[in-house]
Amino acid sequence: MYSQGLIGANTETEETQEFLDAFQARIDAEIKIEPNDPMPAAYRKTLIRMIGQHAHSEIVGMLPEGNWITRAPTLRRKVALLAKVQDEGGHGLYLYSAAETLGVSREQMTEELLNGTAKYSSIFNYPTPTWADIGAIGWLVDGAAIMNQVPLCRCSYGPYARAMIRVCKEESFHQRQGYELMKTLAEGNDDQKHMAQDALNRWWWPSIMMFGPSDTDSQHSDQSMKWKIKRFTNDELRQKFIDATVPQAELIGLTMPDPDLKWNETKNDNGGYDFGKIDWDEFWKVVKGHGMMNKDRIRARKKAWDDGAWVREAALAYAKKNEKQHSEAA
């Protein structure tokens, strides 16, 4: 694989002021940074962290939704969910490959996920107790992810930006699929309506927390904006998501679990929703590993990895034997 040639390559760059200015000028001119280009160590580190976290989120994200594959209520829903979860796995693979272009290996990233040093999106530490959660995740979680990811299609790092184009197309399909699922429930019988509203009640606040801490508290935003890794701040994206999503809930007759939610004509020039106070204690509790499913998610990933060790070892052993036979035959 192309990217594997870059793993462990010498990436040292002498960061003189002249070099840093030239790098910034290139970013400002909207010229993409590519794997072989010299880049500041902090730029590389930030991207490895971001892309790695993104990849891990896709992989861990397979678990809460995979939870319903064997219980999906119809064959149509079953194949749609299977395909969706498979898409998430595909995004993970795609993103690990993009991260590999920065010199880190998938094995190394996997190890960091399993030993807890790498983070993934906290939203996947919430449980999916009902079928409506599958709709809520597609509609809200993928909806929030799209808000974050569409600007990443213009990210200054070429491989990440290009990966995001395909990922966004698929996420946007998932979002519509999730909304359609919720709409079906909201138009269904009382049990189904209740199931839909209950899922919305549980997923709304965690979804708007997905954009991360408020701009006043975010440690990574400024430099990432300057390097055009990020294009919008956490709060800007959160507002865009809320403004887009509230009318969607109204359209299918669901109520947002926020009594302070109110349209404000004068907000941000064109108007926007005012919303209630976000419970950041809850956010940090889950980020720090104390959500309902944090431990279960990592245990499940670790179990899959450990249980599969003998399969990976056998594949390697077989490949080595064959390599040897081929070279002996030659």
Partner: protein, 253 residues
């Protein structure tokens, strides 16, 4: 309408049940595979199988003309009314068992679909055209794993042998011809079994030889699925599969 419609429905439902149950079992792996590549390919194969079951259930419903849907067949029958072969309902156990199960099944379905494609039933022949290509890929995928695991490490060889010991007794049922099947062979909708058996043996022998594995002699084959006599694990599979339809009768999803 063919003269042997009842027998044709019976056979179509048997094949549909095989595909649904095997696809369901495979889908249990989603998110828990030994490597990311397998987390993509196992759901892919599960999608093929469940997709084929949908086409087959819809055809059965159409032949039956009682206003049933694919979901009525898939979700709302009682355990004794499912007529899948026992092989496909066996638990996943580990990656060796799972790949071997896929391999045994695909090695049978590939020549079977080829025969159906050239058969007398236009709808089945259309389904077979698509399914044949998909199942050809399943043989390749699972077959390559049988070779890697059989000729990989001591542990993987041991696990493969354990899988063969556990699953080979169930393979005879794939090749069984009951009255309904015989009627469809006579009408030309499905192929004669003897040439399929020859091909199945050849595929298994070829891959097992490469994998340094031995094809066992089975004195007492396991069967009963076609008559609705299932293993104990099957009830639990149905409990999950049918949960939503049973809990919320009549709801639209």
């Amino acid at each position: 309408m063919p003269a042997n419609t009842e027998q044709l429905i019976e056979v179509v439902v048997q094949i549909a049940d095989d595909h649904l149950i095997l696809g369901h079992r495979l889908s249990e792996w989603c998110g828990h595979a030994p490597m990311l590549e397998e987390d993509l390919s196992m759901p892919n194969m599960a999608l093929d199988l469940v997709g084929q079951s949908r086409a087959l259930y819809s055809y059965a419903a159409q032949l039956e003309s009682k206003g049933h849907s694919e979901d009525d067949f898939a979700y709302l029958r009682k355990d004794r009314e499912y007529t899948n072969c026992l092989l496909v309902e066996r638990p996943n156990t580990d990656f060796a068992h799972t790949m071997l199960k896929q391999f045994y099944f695909a090695a049978f379905m590939h020549p079977f679909w080829q025969g159906v494609k050239n058969g007398t039933d236009n709808t089945l022949s259309g389904i077979a055209g698509k399914a044949e290509k998909e199942i050809g890929y399943h043989i390749r995928h699972a077959g390559e794993w049988i070779v890697r695991l059989g000729d990989g490490t001591d542990e993987s060889a041991e696990r493969m042998n354990d899988a063969i010991e556990a699953l080979h007794p169930y393979t005879g049922e794939l090749l069984e011809v009951d009255e309904a099947r015989q009627s469809c062979i006579v009408s030309g909708a499905i192929p004669e079994i003897a040439p399929i058996q020859t091909q199945w043996n050849a595929t298994i022998n070829n891959v097992f030889t490469q994998a340094k594995l031995t094809v066992p002699e089975i004195d007492y084959p396991q069967q009963g699925g076609r008559a609705g006599n299932h293993t104990e694990d099957f009830g639990f599979l149905l409990t999950e599969l049918q949960y939503m339809q049973r809990t919320y009768p009549g709801a639209q999803w």
